[in-house]
């Protein structure tokens, strides 16, 4: 391990890192623009110059490996100076050059206040400019509805180009021209067709790429920042919700190395306009076919009148994809007290049997496990649509050439190459029986992995698919020692918490399909939808529908009583991601109007129904949840399934149909009620539809 002296202090660092990283480890801050630790090294901004003893000129520290440093003539350790007059002068020079063509429009720039160039010009620049010529001006480019470009501000760091090419896997941005005339652009100014493109806004160290929907909306210092968790998919990306007053102004990613690193999908980032529109902000009751506003008491009264004369067995409850653990726990408790066994949190009817162990529905290797895997079989899964940021991780591993990927299901552009095996369960059976060549790839791999997607489990033969997958995992040695490559990728944020807490049919209870079937046949009198919008509402027949949720979506249109709840930014709730990692959202804003936090609505309703639940505050609810399910108390910790048993999983049903797996996510931008209320998502969805009609988009 190389030793070096940085600013007089000796430090030993790991092999293979660059000088800028070594300086960081030594606690020295090095200014930079083009260098980003998750992207390749460009070395073109020259801001990170340092002085290395013995070298005639300052050195770009981002592009020099510590192993390349030479000792002095008598074997002295390499000496690096980051605060010497040479370095100061070099930085001032670089900064002056960078500012030559940078406009002085900070007062009208959205990056103002959180601008790397602004900050570093203050810290490392000089107070004036000697430049008296004309500044250059660059035409703005249209690169889609999300990213606003003011290209005159661009300093050509090429972070955006590298991000799109390397991480997002969409080679659409490039640096055209050269020298002073260089410009960042897309080919013929096409919009970028990527569901991760919003990240270039964060990456841009200046105000060249800013958020179009957020343009001129707020200044960073006016915003209250709340750390939270994203619920657009089941990855549980860490986010920061920025609010001003009651309104969510924007959503940014937070770093979490094991989940989203520092990226989020465009859906997670730009969902906020959906939080403002189509909101349910007061209780509503259907009177003679029309919904009319009501008070909470009236709404609860209407529900009580109905439920009090209904037998428990004729009531059912479904939890939607965005429900937090607290409200599911409360609703489960209430349904139990009402004597109803008919509850389910699997809106899509996924064939998951928690009785066979928690490991049967978790992403057991952990999302970070992908970085170690060397063979991956995707089953009924399009990670690009179902867990965008996870897809970037698979792509990164694939780019190292150490990962072979196979796919069973719908063919799609995943941003990496894969062996296409087949469309349905039969292909999986072929691999599991060793007939297909990919079985060999899995067998010879040291750390093979499979990912069962939502579409595979929701398949009519989902139980058999699970069985086959478990057999395949056993046959190819996917579970051995500390390695567990048997993974389920959920798409609904609420799902794992629901399964963990047993929000599932009790003995003799009905599951989702049975609830819908019975409701249609008139065998159910009341159905409680906890934000459940992804079911076929016409199947609910003439049942009395209570809808508790946030948006006037499918469920609300069908409902007889609507109870307005809080969206994920408006409550503190626990969500368990697909790995089984409990995480807590933060309350960034208040629910609109009369809307309330969801658990408290159910608590209040229980009192009106005469089945009062045992707790009154959020901490009491959590106490009850943690007492019943201790692992949920370990926020941000993954508790692996100790008793994981492939044999148990492989002894399930074995009959599967011939139909191919369908898509779990049909329209990436419209997967939940918030997204469907968002104008931005609508626009993106339309753009995507235009693109896919040419058969080149993600849905291929």
């Amino acid at each position: 391990m190389p030793k070096l002296i940085i600013d007089g202090a000796e430090i030993e660092v790991e092999n293979g890192i660059t000088l800028i990283q070594a300086c960081e480890q030594a606690g020295v801050e090095i200014p930079r623009f083009c260098y980003h630790e998750r992207l390749s090294i460009a070395g073109n901004c020259r801001m990170c110059l340092v002085e290395v003893k013995g070298m005639p000129k300052p050195i770009a520290s981002c592009a020099l490996g510590v192993n390349d440093l030479r000792p002095g003539p008598n074997g002295e350790l390499p000496e690096i100076h980051t605060k010497s007059p040479t370095v100061k002068k070099a930085r001032e020079g670089v900064m002056e050059f960078l500012l030559i063509n940078h406009p002085l429009d900070c007062p009208i720039c959205d990056q103002g206040g959180e601008c790397d160039l602004q900050d570093q010009a203050m810290a490392y620049g000089v107070d004036g400019s000697r430049f008296t010529e004309n500044k250059r001006a660059v035409e703005d480019k249209n690169i889609g509805p999300l990213i606003k470009t003011i290209m005159t501000r661009c300093i050509h760091c090429t972070r955006c180009v590298r991000f799109m090419t390397e991480v997002a896997g969409v080679e659409e941005l490039g640096l055209a021209g050269r020298g002073e005339d260089a410009e960042i652009t897309t080919y013929l100014e096409r919009g970028m067709m990527s569901e991760m493109s919003g990240n270039v806004i964060d990456l841009c160290p200046v105000g060249a790429l800013t958020s179009k929907p957020y343009a001129f909306a707020a200044r960073p210092w006016e915003l209250r920042k709340t750390e939270s968790i994203d619920v657009m998919d089941a990855m549980g990306a860490n986010i920061r919700v920025d609010t001003r007053g009651r309104e969510v102004m924007r959503i940014l990613p937070r770093n979490h190395d094991d989940i989203n690193e520092e990226w989020i999908s465009d859906k997670s980032r730009f969902i906020w306009d959906g939080l403002r529109t189509q909101r349910l902000d007061q209780p509503l009751i259907r009177v003679r076919g029309k919904l009319r506003p009501a008070s909470w008491d009236e709404a609860f009264g209407a529900i009580a009148r109905k439920l009090k004369r209904t037998k428990g067995a004729r009531i059912a409850a479904l939890a939607g994809d965005l429900a937090g653990a607290e409200e599911m726990f409360a609703l489960k408790d209430l349904m139990k007290r009402l004597g109803s066994p008919n509850i389910d949190c699997r809106q899509d009817g996924a064939a998951i049997n928690p009785a066979r162990g928690r490991g049967g529905y978790l992403f057991n290797s952990g999302l970070g496990g992908i970085d170690e895997a060397d063979a991956l079989l995707l089953i009924g899964c399009n990670p690009r649509a179902e867990a965008t940021v996870l897809n970037a991780r698979i792509r990164r591993r694939w780019r190292t050439r150490q990962l072979k990927v196979g796919l069973i299901g719908r063919e799609a552009d995943l941003s990496y190459r894969y062996d296409y095996i087949g469309a349905g369960p039969q292909s999986l059976a072929d691999v599991a029986s060793g007939k297909h060549a990919f079985a060999k790839v899995l067998k010879s791999a040291k750390r093979p992995m499979l990912i069962l997607g939502a579409a595979a489990l929701a398949h009519t033969g989902g139980g058999a698919v699970m069985t086959l997958a478990a057999r395949l995992a056993g046959m190819t040695g996917m579970v051995s020692g500390t390695w567990n490559g048997f993974n389920v990728l959920h798409h609904a944020a609420s799902r794992v918490a629901g399964l963990d807490m047993g929000f599932l049919p009790a003995a003799g209870g009905l599951d989702t399909q049975a609830i819908l079937k019975n409701a249609k046949a008139g065998k159910l009198d009341a159905v409680f939808l906890l934000g459940a919008d992804e079911i076929d509402m016409t199947s609910l027949g003439s049942a009395f529908v209570i809808y508790q949720g946030t948006h006037g979506d499918a469920g609300a249109h069908r409902a007889d009583v609507i109870l307005p709840g809080a969206a994920y930014t408006e409550k503190s709730a626990i969500y368990v991601n697909t790995e089984g990692r409990p995480q807590m959202t933060g309350q960034a804003a208040f629910p609109p109007g009369d809307a309330r936090e969801d658990w408290s609505i159910i608590r209040a309703l229980s009192a009106v129904l005469g089945k009062t639940l045992d707790w009154d505050t959020l901490s009491e609810v959590r106490g009850a949840i943690f007492a019943a399910h201790p692992h949920l108390a370990l926020i941000d910790e993954v508790v692996p399934d100790e008793n994981f048993d492939l044999n148990k999983l492989s002894r399930g049903p074995s009959r599967f149909g011939k139909q191919p797996f369908r898509r779990a996510v049909d329209q990436f931008y419209l997967t939940n009620p918030i997204a469907r209320a968002s104008a931005i998502m609508g626009e993106l969805s339309a753009m995507m539809a235009d693109e896919t009609s040419g058969a080149t988009g993600t849905d291929g």
Binding site: E171, G174, L175, G177, R178, E180, Y187
Partner: protein, 221 residues
């Protein structure tokens, strides 16, 4: 230099001729599999030669598809290198060197001629015969001032001779590339000035020696 953009008027499509396609495939084969993108520069150059000296947008796409590259990657290359013309050029494309040695020897006069005979830079004459562009040093400083017309250098120019040269080209008369003032290559103007008595032993010997070995002497008669 200025911002380089694709021409607003573009042909519908572009296809390599059979001969060029064969040549292009041979170029691609020079590189190991997976590294075929290395052939982008020669392929674009051949496309430009085939397409009357400029690169149309469909050619960028054709090359990108042939090399399995993203369009934007080819676009970056085409806009970076100034020898790719992104707009139509004349049948005779004059690249006029304006760098210091040529400039000191009268490149400004030549530019004036261009403006007078052809028009502004990057404009093609109405008959489609001529267009011109000021470029950086073409490496013929000994024979300054000079221009490159298509693949030939025309050196030691003066305004009058250059104007005649352009007119000759336009009217289809034959022209002679190289120095235009009677000078032989980059030998001294007006003939040799040294070694006139033929008694410089060492050099002369060596020359004879090499001659004896049958190696052709450049410029010697």
């Amino acid at each position: 230099m200025s911002v380089r953009r694709l021409d607003p008027i573009q042909p519908e499509n572009f296809q390599f001729s059979a001969a060029n396609l064969k040549w292009a495939k041979a170029q691609v084969k020079k590189y190991p599999p997976g590294k075929q993108a290395s052939a982008v520069i020669p392929l674009l150059w051949r496309a430009q030669e085939q397409h009357d000296g400029w690169l149309p947008e469909p050619a960028l796409r054709a090359v990108a598809e042939m090399l399995d590259m993203a369009y934007i990657r080819v676009y970056e290359v085409a806009t970076f290198y100034t020898m790719y013309n992104l707009s139509p050029v004349g049948k005779y494309f004059v690249q006029l060197c304006g760098t210091t040695p040529c400039w000191l020897r009268g490149a400004d006069d030549l530019k004036e001629v261009c403006r007078h005979v052809i028009g502004e830079q990057n404009q093609v004459t109405e008959d489609g015969m001529l267009s011109w562009l000021e470029v950086e040093c073409l490496g013929a400083c000994t024979n300054a001032p000079m221009v490159q017309i298509n693949k030939d250098y025309f050196e030691d120019l003066d305004a009058k001779g250059f104007e005649k040269l352009l007119t000759d080209l336009r009217e289809g008369r034959e022209v002679k590339p190289g120095p235009q003032n009677g000078r032989q290559f980059s030998c001294p103007e007006g003939g040799a000035t040294t070694l006139l008595n033929g008694s410089a032993p060492s050099v002369a010997k060596r020359v004879t020696k090499t001659k004896a070995k049958g190696k052709p002497q450049r410029g010697g008669k």
